[in-house]
């Protein structure tokens, strides 16, 4: 009988299997008491990063609050795929009001709970990047400024996916969307100044800001748990690949998210009261081409001719992230 090699990590992931961990360290999703807050049967696309992120985030928030949670939801994919009447996938008290007012609705919920002496019940607001960085930005900034007791979670898939993949202020330069087509002398989205909402949230000096990616779900769970330990305005920005909008394979959602982190495209960080308190180091830095190539929204950068200028520009942005947030350990040139 040949002995089989024990693998502590899933291939290529550096993620240790749950069964090898002490029960106290296991993920919420691996726990029998998980609430399936966003239950099965919803209508998200195959490989939807947002559905995955929302499921982990809300279940973690439920666990952290002893299931005393109310959620407000912006208009968008998450709202549409989870609630076509008469079905709802939500196992928690949940309200959808409008596209641009979710943070304010959450403020109202928190105020009502405070006045009713139900401060054991906590409030989460959630929306996509359009509902957060564009149309809901005013209400979100107001909620931050007042330091209302709300955790706002943005599921960032970098465009208006629900309406058919139009550009948002979170769409990266060069990306093809329905309103930034890959035609003309500068195909895809223009390189603007960007709108880095985690940094904008930090500028409000709110108690807690974090970013997360769906390839590191344990980290997402931990950040939601940490957020629920704090009172006041909190913000978590989750990077969620969208197979439909990005032109990626539905089985590559996790891989794409991981590549976003390992290239420095998306820094995974944590901050309290406006000061950076933690970064998730890059383990093995990869060139941005590795991240861009599998995505049809960037296909025009590689064919019919290689657009070196645009790729260099994206690489420069990734390099800047690495420098700015210290994503690579300076002594070893490697992450953790």
């Amino acid at each position: 009988m040949t002995a089989s090699i024990v693998k502590f990590y899933q291939t290529g992931t550096h993620t240790v299997g749950n069964r090898l961990l002490d029960p106290s360290q296991r993920s919420v999703q691996a726990d029998m008491r998980r609430t399936n807050s966003l239950n099965s049967g919803h209508r998200a696309c195959q490989g939807c990063g947002e559905a995955l992120g929302a499921r982990y985030a809300i279940d973690a928030a439920m666990m952290a609050t002893d299931n005393q949670l109310i959620a407000a939801n912006a208009t968008g994919c998450l709202e549409v795929f989870s609630t076509p009447y008469p079905e709802t996938s939500w196992q928690i008290p949940w309200i959808h009001s409008l596209f641009g007012n979710t943070a304010a609705v959450a403020t109202g919920i928190a105020a009502a709970l405070r006045v009713k002496g139900r401060q054991d019940v906590r409030v989460v607001a959630q929306g996509g990047d359009g509902g957060t960085t564009d149309i809901g930005f005013g209400c979100l900034s107001g909620m931050f400024e007042r330091n209302d007791d709300v955790l706002y979670i943005c599921y960032d898939n970098e465009a208006y996916m629900n309406t058919g993949v139009q550009r948002s202020s979170a769409t990266p330069g060069a990306a093809r969307t329905a309103t930034t087509p890959a035609v003309g002398t500068e195909p895809g989205n223009v390189f603007g100044q960007g709108k880095n909402l985690p940094l904008i949230a930090m500028a409000h000096e709110i108690p807690y800001v974090a970013t997360a990616i769906v390839s590191e779900l344990r980290d997402l769970e931990a950040k939601v748990k940490r957020a629920m330990e704090i009172r006041g305005a909190r913000y978590i920005h989750v990077f969620v690949p969208c197979p439909l909008g990005w032109g990626t394979n539905s089985w590559d959602t996790i891989r794409i998210a991981r590549l976003a982190k390992e290239t420095g495209i998306f820094p995974v960080i944590e901050a309290e009261h406006g000061e950076l308190t933690g970064v998730s180091k890059i383990r093995r830095q990869l060139p941005v081409e590795d991240y861009l190539k599998p995505q049809k929204r960037f296909a025009h950068l590689f064919a019919p001719v290689l657009n070196t200028a645009a790729i260099d520009r994206i690489q420069a942005l990734a390099d800047r992230n690495i420098r700015r947030f210290g994503l690579i350990d300076a002594t070893t040139g490697m992450g953790d």
């Binding site: 009001s97 409008l98 109202g108 105020a111 009502a112 005013g138």
Partner: protein
């Protein structure tokens, strides 16, 4: 207790007696004094068990009210004019979700040209938004309507706008009877929501509804407004029993029993109209007044009944639908259908222009001789209008209309010719 006070402060004091639990405020004239008054009462402890939230826009104000109301809190805000337009999407959402929010609307014109003075254009812009709209004639009624509004809104799970004329009422000092807390408590029970966000009983509010049920959801909102047509008079009767005065109701008539001519209007202008009618009555004219308190739901049957013996109806309204004409008059016409009565629409008091007794007197004399046009703009300066039209004929780049008119009228200095 009788108190000499500003209309806004009377409303603030009365709203406080209604025990609101969440108040959200964003400043816009002429409603600011109301929320300022409430803010002070929350701060100094007069109004307890209430969260006062200063938000960053009217859109947020209504949205906070939506969240709070859906969580079972009695919620209140106030706005006017551009503020109502800025929150428009949330205004429709509140009624669509069936949330009994009460909002004071200090009626003000809508720009451009920017104008802070009173008319009813703001309320009319939201007349189809699914809210009930109650119009106050004076400050006593403005205060009283809020007590009735909370009761009514919560009974039928729909939001209510209490409309009071900006400046004319909000900033006018008159005697107002502010009721006692015991009186209000006896009339207005605590809020028992039909739907509430509560982890003990999780529900989804605001789910997507397709063609299979959308019509039914909308119809039910209509049915509840129709139900309010019965409830509003009942609540006014109960109000009289509890507070000893008439306030609210669907419509209010004055000298209509034998009236051949009936003047219809909303809000504070009813006082001037009644004074004018008194003079005309003294001169032997059979003329009366019908004030509409509940504009939404529209009391079609009550108006139809009250105008059944009149030969003509004159609707004086502080608003109009550009490109069509009167707004209130079209609804009144529906109430008078199949009857050979004349109906005259009069647009008056736009952007705060005073509606004077002498103008009304002349207007109504003409109306009683059936010499009015179908649509009349009271006190319109035809000369100024015609001069501007001439300028536009003369030169392509005739310039901004508002500025041209101000220069023409000598309100601003004439520039280079």
């Amino acid at each position: 207790m009788l108190k000499q006070c500003e209309g806004s402060h009377a409303v603030a004091a009365t709203v406080a007696l209604c025990r609101p639990e969440v108040i959200c405020a964003y400043p816009i004239s002429p409603q600011t004094h109301i929320v300022e008054g409430l803010s002070e009462m929350v701060r100094d402890g007069t109004l307890q068990g209430c969260e006062f939230i200063n938000v960053e826009s009217e859109f947020a104000a209504m949205s906070v009210a939506i969240g709070a109301s859906a969580t079972g809190a009695r919620s209140y805000t106030a706005t006017a004019s551009q503020g109502l337009l800025f929150m428009a999407e949330a205004v429709w959402n509140a009624s669509g979700l069936g949330l009994p929010i009460v909002m004071t609307l200090a009626n003000r014109a809508i720009g451009a040209p920017i104008n802070i003075w009173n008319d009813h254009t703001d309320a009319m812009s939201m007349r189809d938004a699914g809210w009930l709209q109650l119009f106050a004639e004076n400050n006593q009624e403005a205060a009283d309507l809020h007590i009735q509004a909370f009761r009514l809104a919560e009974e039928i799970s729909l939001p209510i706008m209490v409309c009071m004329d900006g400046f004319i009422l909000t900033h006018a000092y008159e005697q107002v009877d502010i009721p006692t807390q015991e009186q209000v408590d006896a009339y207005l029970p605590p809020y028992e929501p039909r739907q509430v966000l509560d982890p003990r009983e999780p529900v989804s509010i605001g789910a997507m509804v397709g063609p299979e049920a959308f019509t039914e959801v909308r119809y039910l909102a209509h049915a509840r407004q129709m139900q309010a047509l019965d409830l509003i008079p009942q609540l006014a009767t109960e109000f009289r029993q509890q507070f000893g005065r008439d306030s609210g109701g669907l419509i209010r008539t004055y000298c209509t029993d034998d009236a051949v001519t009936i003047v219809v209007a909303l809000g504070s202008v009813l006082g001037t109209i009644k004074d004018t009618v008194d003079d005309l009555r003294e001169a032997g004219h059979k003329i009366g007044v019908l004030g509409i308190t509940s504009f939404r739901p529209f009391p079609t049957n009550a108006i139809r009944h009250a105008t059944r013996n009149a030969h003509r109806v004159v609707v004086v309204e502080k608003c109009f639908a550009v490109g069509v004409g009167g707004i209130v008059s079209r609804d009144v016409r529906t109430a008078m259908r199949d009857r050979p009565q004349r109906l005259y629409g009069v647009v008056a008091g736009l952007g705060g222009r005073a509606i004077t007794k002498s103008s009304l007197h002349g207007l109504l004399l003409k109306a009683m001789d059936d010499e009015l046009e179908q649509l009349t703009f009271l006190d319109l300066d035809w000369n100024a209008v015609n001069r501007e039209l001439e300028r536009e004929r003369q030169t392509r780049r005739s310039g901004p209309i508002a500025e041209n008119l101000l220069r023409d009228l000598g309100v601003v200095a004439a520039g280079a010719v």
